[in-house]
């Protein structure tokens, strides 16, 4: 066994439908791992298998070097933060946080010390006597987090922890989650469908699609070198060109599709030097930037332009592609192509 944390040869079926199947997935200690995938991809099932709420049909779950496949949840040294927090509505914040310890019949002063510690970290001093329904969403979230880490688990699991919050709170909490993980020095597995969240938080991103792990790597790797077309598209806006569309660029190699991210396309005047020419379509003004659709023959691409720039619908434009960031695919899989002239 090479790693302290890992899933080996895991399979979980619901009837004929395979919810998740993992050949081999290992996590580094003390890192922030984000499991990313669209809804129904099996990412939550993966998390539930690690937590013990779900038993896999086959395979092995290893936590802290131990095989815990048949160990019940509460003996696994894992903490879980539920999507909608699942705080006990009839218990106060203090009781909610303390419950995993009270259950173990630890001495009262020890319990108080541990709870005080997490209350300190989570900045919940003023809330400990309140009931969950008296708290804001962000505060409930922190209570749920406190309850999950009070036992000092080896792994902290979070199921879409930010999806029930307002956009602004969400960005604040992101930084807070990462800080907390660093401070506590534990392994976090965070499940989300939001690629921005995944990139912002993850030391390592695991992309899940249709019950399988498609790629595992740093945010830079999965964004810049996506293993296939699905990963490329799921992690950010990408424009796809067939090989015959870009014959004029003179790129050689065994590929059938070239992808260029929105930000790697530049729009210039039709008389300036350019690689391709097109016609400006409708644009979406987003405040910090503007998204512009451009049609090149029968293909439609999207690019970012400066927020100050205005282009009339139907204007002829020149297009420059930043080819060193281009991603090439053959039969849907990424291939390395040398574009240096």
């Amino acid at each position: 066994m090479s790693s302290q944390f890992g899933l080996y040869d895991i399979k979980k079926n619901y009837g004929k439908f395979t919810a998740i199947s993992v050949e081999n997935l290992e996590f580094d200690e003390d890192s922030y791992i984000v499991v990313l995938g669209p809804s129904g991809s099996g990412k939550t099932t993966l998390l539930r298998i690690v937590s013990g709420l779900e038993t896999p049909d086959q395979g092995k779950v290893v936590i802290g070097g131990e095989d815990v496949t048949n160990v019940p949840s509460w003996k696994r040294s894992v903490g879980l933060v539920f999507q909608n927090y699942a705080l006990y509505p009839h218990l106060t914040v203090y009781q909610n946080i303390a419950i995993p310890l009270t259950v173990e019949k630890r001495p009262l002063n020890e319990i108080r010390k541990s709870v005080d510690e997490v209350v300190e970290v989570m900045q919940l001093h003023d809330q400990i006597g309140k009931l969950p329904k008296q708290l804001s969403g962000g505060q409930q979230q922190r209570v749920a987090l406190a309850r999950a880490i009070v036992k000092k688990p080896k792994i902290l699991l979070m199921d879409e922890p930010l999806s029930n919050l307002d956009t602004r709170v969400r960005v604040d909490l992101r930084g807070y989650l990462k800080d907390t993980q660093r401070k506590l020095g534990i392994t976090v597995i965070h499940v989300t469908h939001d690629q921005e969240e995944a990139m912002a938080l993850g030391d390592s991103v695991v992309v899940v699609h249709k019950g399988e792990i498609v790629q595992q790597g740093t945010p830079r790797e999965v964004y810049g070198k996506p293993r296939n077309l699905f990963v490329a598209g799921f992690l950010g806006g990408i424009n796809l060109f067939r090989k015959e569309d870009i014959g004029s660029l003179g790129i050689d190699g065994a590929f059938d599709t070239m992808g260029i991210r929105n930000e790697d396309i530049y729009i210039v005047g039709k008389d300036d030097p350019h690689q391709l020419s097109g016609i400006a379509g409708h644009s979406q003004y987003l405040g910090s930037q503007t998204l512009l659709n451009v049609s090149i023959g029968d293909i439609e691409i999207m690019t970012r332009i400066s927020k100050d720039k205005k282009l009339k619908h139907g204007t002829e434009v020149g297009i420059i592609l930043d080819l060193k960031n281009a991603i090439f695919f053959q039969d849907g899989k990424r291939v390395d192509i040398d574009v240096s002239p």
């Binding site: 699942a86 009839h90 995993p100």
Partner: protein, 566 residues
Amino acid sequence: MRSPAKKQAIYLIIPALIYFLIFAFYPMVENIVLTFQQENVYTGALTYVGLKNYSELLQTPYMGQIFENTLIYTLFVPFFDIILSIPLASFMKRLDKPYILPLVLLSSLIPLVTSAVIWSFMLNPFYGVLYYIDKVDLFSNPWMIVIIDIWTSLPLSTLIIYSGLRSIPTNIEEASQMDGIIGARKLFTIDLPYVKSSILSATVLMILYGSFTFDPIYVVKSSAAPFSITDLSYYSYQLFFSNNVGFAAVLMTIMTATSTVIALLFVRLTLWEGMKGGNQVFKFMPNREMPRYMAWFFTVLYMAFFLFPFLWLILESLKSNPEIVAIPPIIIPYLITTAHYTFSFITGEPYFLTSLAVSLGTSILVLFLGAPAAYATSRYRIGGLKFIGLILFIYSLPTVIFMIPVHNIVYSIGMINSWEGLIISYPVFVLPLTIWMLYNFYSNFPKHLDEAANMDGMNVFKTFYSVILRLSGDGISVTLLYSFILAWGALIFPLALTYTPFNMSLLNPSGAQTATIFVGSTIGHEAFNYGALSAASVISIIPSLLLIYIARKRIEKLWRVGGNVS
């Protein structure tokens, strides 16, 4: 400002409201007036007598015994019901088998008269199962009534608590698994605080149930010593029949007052929103899940209690006459006969026909009155929670208190001893539950349908009758069946409003004694024909079996009493 839609919706509630004014509120007032009056035995004229009726409370020699019996029923029935229903409900949740609930519910859905008959077979010291256990004579003893009450009401309290337990969100269940709270400790730390309001409303409902016991006493009284099992509600009925209307009204007013207090508590609890904090973790409770086989073992024990009496009844109905009176009792008959069924069908035909017609008529009438009212309250908040509170209040009043005034109303419009007379008076005790069930149904009904219909230019009535009603098949079919069952099992009103069986003439109809009277007094106790009595009892169970079969998947949702009203 009220929207126009809301103004129109008020009319949907009016029929039900008028009905309750005449048949529920007017009787409560008339009862009070009657307490100061006395009926002349020969002319029927009422004269003012001051407080004379009240002084009878002190002069009647059996009053102490009657109050004591009432108290026994009021305290012990809810006590045993709650103690027994919490474990059963949690076993049912743990085993999670869909067929358990219908089997548990059966005994609460058959006519109460039939239940009493079944238990008098079971507990007969010579011919019943009791012979093999202990030769005690429970017949002269209020504990027999307590047993019958528990057998018929335990399913209801279990259902209320069971649906409460089932409504605990999955993620709370999972959180407690993550935190390591399981088994008995989870029951006490998480589950019971969560369903506190369900438990409380079940308790109150069972208190009401026990305190107004009537039907079992009616069935068993002929084998019991005078007044040994009589309670207030049965005694007031006896007084009414011995023309002591004034004193009967005094007792009914007392019952109305006490049940109002309890009922208000029930209404508060049922419409109560949430729970308060301050609970502790029950550390002393074992933190281990009970093995499944143990849960099965106990559930099977409960099932035996619920279902064995049915088996005994069916065996009894197939025994030949000498086998029925054999001592020691014969368990499996060897001379099987269907003669009792033939006899019951022939002699019972007018009674069963009446019950069928009256129950059918009643369920259609309550649907007509209740469905629009339930829809208007749930969708347009007409009357808001006050109206629903009122409905639950009437639901929790004992039927016997309506007996005298309703008798007078039906008498004054010339409908005594007729099908129509029963049909117009039954809704007093059927309609509240109909509205409550449909209110719950419409509360979960997709709102966008009404909104779409409104956008398409339909007014509230058109929306209700041509869109909503057509899509309510689910809720309405179950509610209709349940109303039918309630009407089918009615005893007090038929006793007060009829005196002969149906004459089997549709052109010139008269007479309207029901199957409950047939089972409860005509055959068994007057003729001592146990075989025919058991066969008639089996027949009287058939509609309940149908209900359970048809509604088996939906009944849990619609019978929701207690817990949060969303």
